[in-house]
């Protein structure tokens, strides 16, 4: 049985080694780069508007995107075994089972809700932008999965 201890800390360390500080610095840097690219894309390809307004919109979007981009970079580079509280075998842990069950149920919910919504929109001839519809589907999936996971945790925990 592998019982080799791995040093763990709050933010973990990168897959390629280095300290916690290095991982955080690279994640912040990556977050800034991604946010800046998004801001540039908004300025370049955003809706027609005076330059000042376009720049303002790009800056606001970049500020909002920064924590998300930071989290994304951190997640990609993180060696999960070095994160405080991470177990060695998550697949055998009950939390993994809850996640699996919640994901499976969410898939069923999304198919049902999307199907009913599509039927209703067709019957009542409601026309909504595809981007809005997709946003609702993604948001619903997140919320549904979180609720299902917490319910399983409450029942089985």
């Amino acid at each position: 049985m592998d019982t080799k201890a791995v040093a763990q800390n709050k933010w973990g360390r990168a897959r390629f080694g280095g300290s916690q500080t290095l991982l955080l610095l690279l994640s912040i840097l990556g977050g800034i780069v991604i946010s800046a690219v998004i801001a540039c894309l908004i300025v370049q390809f955003g809706p027609e508007a005076p330059v000042q307004r376009k720049v303002l919109a790009a800056v606001i979007a970049a500020i909002i995107m920064l924590p998300v981009a930071f989290a994304l970079c951190w997640l990609i580079m993180l060696d999960r075994d070095t994160l405080a509280g991470a177990v060695k075998d998550p697949d055998s842990s009950i939390e993994g089972r809850w996640l699996e069950k919640a994901g499976f149920s969410t898939l069923g919910d999304i198919v049902a809700v999307a199907g009913l919504a599509a039927t209703a929109l067709t019957i009542f001839k409601v026309d909504i932008p595809a981007s809005n519809a997709l946003l609702v589907v993604v948001g619903l999936a997140f919320v549904d999965m979180a609720i299902r996971y917490l319910m399983l945790k409450k029942v089985d925990g």
């Binding site: 177990v87 009950i94 939390e95 925990g157």
Partner: protein, 65 residues
Amino acid sequence: MENNLSDYRKERGLSQQALADELGVSRQTIISLEKGRYDPSLPLAFKLASLFACHIEDLFIPEEN
């Protein structure tokens, strides 16, 4: 599924956290296993049997049809 995990664990003087650490799973997993609310995966069942030097069927009691 019923099991004798709690008895085996206490016999070895292991806490739930110590057993969880040995197996590389969360303490919640051990709690749920002992309460019979979670049926372990086959690899986890083998790990438990190996740790307690017994057979899987000594630890877990299948439900009668």
